[in-house]
């Protein structure tokens, strides 16, 4: 799938600052950005430059200090915490560098957690979660705990969890950061295939140039300021 003209994110004058030990730290400074449906974007930059903060803003995990950010026409900055939770549950899928699986739940149950807020019946949850695991090649590991899976397998479970609810956008924070090169390539192939086949918008924060060059659009962020590469 390729980029469309339909706007997914519209960001204007986005600023995020923190008060850290009495000092005002600016994580994002006056960021303007438009992201279209079907984009495959990489965001690179030095540590502490604001990559993860931007990703959190895109995912509605945090609110901006000023500026606006809309997802499919809905302004995230004005939403209540419950409204943001609802938006996240329906529209946004997250993939984390450290996988962030619930250690006490099996692979299948971990995938199911993404469907819990949607009020889907347990039978449907199970069916859809198994299908999602199958799509990442892990149907045979459904009953395994995260501790019984390799790093690559855990990340594939995390991808299945992010995809099972058919989100509009997949936000990946260093999705291959904890993986070896061979596994990294496997994960990237899965992500690219999903992006192509499911009409997803994929936004990745990465330090890895090999990952970044797979993206169709590359952004750089340093000192809170965004620029195109």
């Amino acid at each position: 799938m390729s980029q469309t003209t339909e706007v997914l994110y519209e960001i204007k004058g986005l600023t995020k600052s923190y008060n850290q030990k009495g000092k005002n730290v600016v994580a994002l400074a006056d960021v303007d950005l438009t992201i279209h449906v079907g984009d495959l974007i990489s965001i690179q930059g030095p540590t502490g430059g604001g990559k993860s903060t931007l990703l959190q803003m895109l995912g509605g995990l945090d609110k901006p200090t000023s500026g606006s950010i809309s997802l499919s026409g809905d302004n995230l900055e004005n939403m209540s915490e419950n409204e943001l939770a609802k938006t996240r549950s329906h529209k946004v899928g997250f993939i984390f560098q450290t996988f962030n699986l619930i250690p006490t739940l099996t692979a299948l149950e971990n995938v199911e957690t993404a469907l819990v807020p949607l009020g889907i019946s347990s039978t449907d949850r199970r069916t859809r979660s198994l299908a999602a695991l199958e799509s990442v090649g892990l149907a045979d590991r459904a009953s395994h705990l995260p501790s019984e899976l390799s790093g690559g397998q855990q990340q594939r479970v995390a991808i299945a969890r992010a995809l099972v609810k058919n989100p509009q956008v997949l936000l990946a924070d260093e999705p291959t950061g904890n993986l070896d090169e061979e596994t990294r390539d496997q994960i990237m192939e899965i992500l690219e295939e999903l992006w192509r086949n499911k009409g997803l918008t994929l936004i990745m924060v990465t330090h890895d140039s090999n990952v970044a060059k797979r993206a169709k659009r590359n952004l750089n962020i340093a000192n809170g300021r965004l620029s195109a590469r």
Partner: protein, 500 residues
């Protein structure tokens, strides 16, 4: 998903589940055992007290007699039964006296109907406590009648009635004084009063048809000491009574409150106390009514002593009393401290668990879980842990109670110089008046202290068990609230950032 997630957390995080559950369980077990000990000790106290005035009696009304000059006297000058049979140097006498028990005043028995009209009363009865003294023997005609030394009387009180034989020779008389305590019982039937604290060892108890007849129940100890059996006779004031039953205390007390029980109307006629009684026994429908009932009774009987079980319990001493004090003070505070420690332990452990799971909750928030769902999950987990703790605590507690009951420690209790109706009297009988015999040895109300040995039996009450479960769940609620507050305050971003 809620239950699946909850059960997985409890099973997978065994260490936390076990530690918090055990902490709560120990606290709950202690509460159960202390409560059971309290119930057991109260029961033991009730047994001791019921041995004095009957099971089921909540309040007693009695009146201390106004001391009169002269006291009880035998008249050796008159004719009739007391007339001396002349011999060269001695006169032989045989006299029976039947008087209201020492230290007891009398009431009009018709006031019982006023008592029965009071609201909140489940039963009431009246008795007439009497003291029978018999004198048999001879005294020198040429000298003054010798009065038994009062200090001798006091020094050897028998618990079951008996006799004093005065030494002869040296010009002194040779005589015997026997005494027994008699109690007139309302045979129309009541579940309160002295006979509610006894078992019929042989024969039968009173029936309504026994009213105004010469039948008697005899205390087992007294019967044994005097070789009395059912079908035999006892003599009171020269009147023969047929023994229809032998009764024994059903508590730890060795004896019942009197030696002989006869129908109330018979006792009143025999003692010349028609329409009079010495004691009222009242049972309340509810323990919460006792204080107000006491006030009402005090209005009906101004100047009388109105006592409840708790008043009488204060007169108990011995290891039973010590155990009671221990449970009420040390046990209570120990329970409170252990509960607080358990709560703090559960709270801190839960809080520490939340800290370890910040990433987990941040991830769940990121994928769309609301704070309310996460709060519910945390509360569910801590309440489940508490429920396990409560269950273990109940099991430990019940085992603890079982073990204590297995060894059944004995406690002794002494009712110090007190009549069974709460009047502390200045110790025993005696204090002879000139020319009069104050009464023979026997178990008089107001006589020397009586000791009871009771086995401590810890009792479990449903309410105590429910309270223990409630406390455990409260602990879980407390810990869960602490944890849930921490988790809900976290924004998803800060939760995920803290991991990074």
């Amino acid at each position: 998903m809620f239950l699946k997630y909850l059960s997985r957390e409890l099973v997978q995080r065994k260490r936390q589940t076990i530690l918090v559950s055990i902490a709560l369980a120990v606290a709950i077990a202690l509460v159960v055992v202390v409560n059971a000990a309290s119930v057991g000790i109260n029961s033991a106290q009730s047994k001791v007290l019921s041995g004095l005035y009957g099971i089921g009696t909540d309040i007693t009304v009695s009146q201390t007699a106004i001391p009169t000059q002269g006291g009880q006297r035998f008249d050796f000058q008159g004719g009739g039964q007391g007339q001396p049979r002349q011999r060269p140097d001695f006169s032989t006498f045989s006299q029976d006296r039947l008087d209201v028990a020492r230290f007891s005043g009398t009431f009009q028995s018709k006031t019982l109907s006023d008592v029965k009209k009071l609201a909140g009363i489940s039963g009431a009865s009246a008795t007439l406590k009497l003291n029978s003294i018999s004198f048999n023997g001879s005294i020198p005609t040429s000298s003054t009648v010798t009065t038994p030394n009062s200090s001798t009387d006091n020094s050897a009180p028998s618990a079951s009635g008996g006799a004093i034989a005065m030494p002869s020779g040296g010009g002194r008389g040779n005589f015997e004084i026997t005494s027994k305590s008699i109690e007139g019982i309302d045979v129309t039937g009541s579940n309160v009063g002295p006979l509610s604290g006894v078992d019929v060892a042989s024969g039968r108890t009173f029936a309504t048809t026994d009213s105004n007849t010469n039948v008697a129940l005899v205390d087992a100890t007294y019967a044994k000491a005097n070789s009395i059996a059912v079908g035999g006779n006892v003599t009171i004031k020269s009147v023969k009574f047929q023994v229809i039953g032998i009764v024994a205390a059903n508590s730890g007390s060795a004896e019942t409150s009197s030696n002989i029980y006869i129908p109330l109307d018979t006792a009143q006629n025999l003692a010349g106390k028609t329409g009079l009684v010495t004691n009222f026994y009242v049972s309340s429908k509810s323990a919460s009514n006792i204080a107000s009932l006491k006030k009402e009774l005090a209005k009906i009987y101004p100047g009388a002593t109105v006592s409840s079980q708790s008043d009488l319990a204060a007169s108990l001493s011995g290891s039973l009393n010590s155990a009671s004090s221990l449970v009420k003070t040390l046990g209570k505070w120990l329970s409170i401290i252990v509960l607080l420690v358990a709560f703090a332990f559960a709270g801190l452990f839960t809080s520490s668990g939340i800290t370890r799971r910040i990433r987990e909750f941040g991830t769940l928030k990121a994928i769309g879980w609301r704070n309310s769902r996460i709060t519910k999950q945390i509360m569910g987990e801590t309440l489940a842990t508490s429920a396990i703790g409560a269950l273990l605590g109940l099991i430990f507690g019940i085992i603890g109670v079982f073990v204590v009951n297995l060894f059944a420690p004995t406690l002794n209790s002494t009712v110090a110089a007190v009549n069974p109706f709460g009047n502390r009297n200045p110790g025993g009988f005696g204090g002879g008046r000139p020319g009069g015999f104050p009464g023979g040895p026997g178990r008089f109300p107001g006589s020397a202290s009586a000791e009871s040995i009771v086995k401590l039996h810890l009792g479990l009450s449903t309410s105590a068990l429910l309270i223990a479960i409630g406390i455990a769940l409260l602990g879980g609620l407390f810990a869960g609230t602490m944890g849930a507050l921490r988790a809900s305050k976290l924004t998803p971003a800060s939760a995920l950032r803290s991991v990074a």
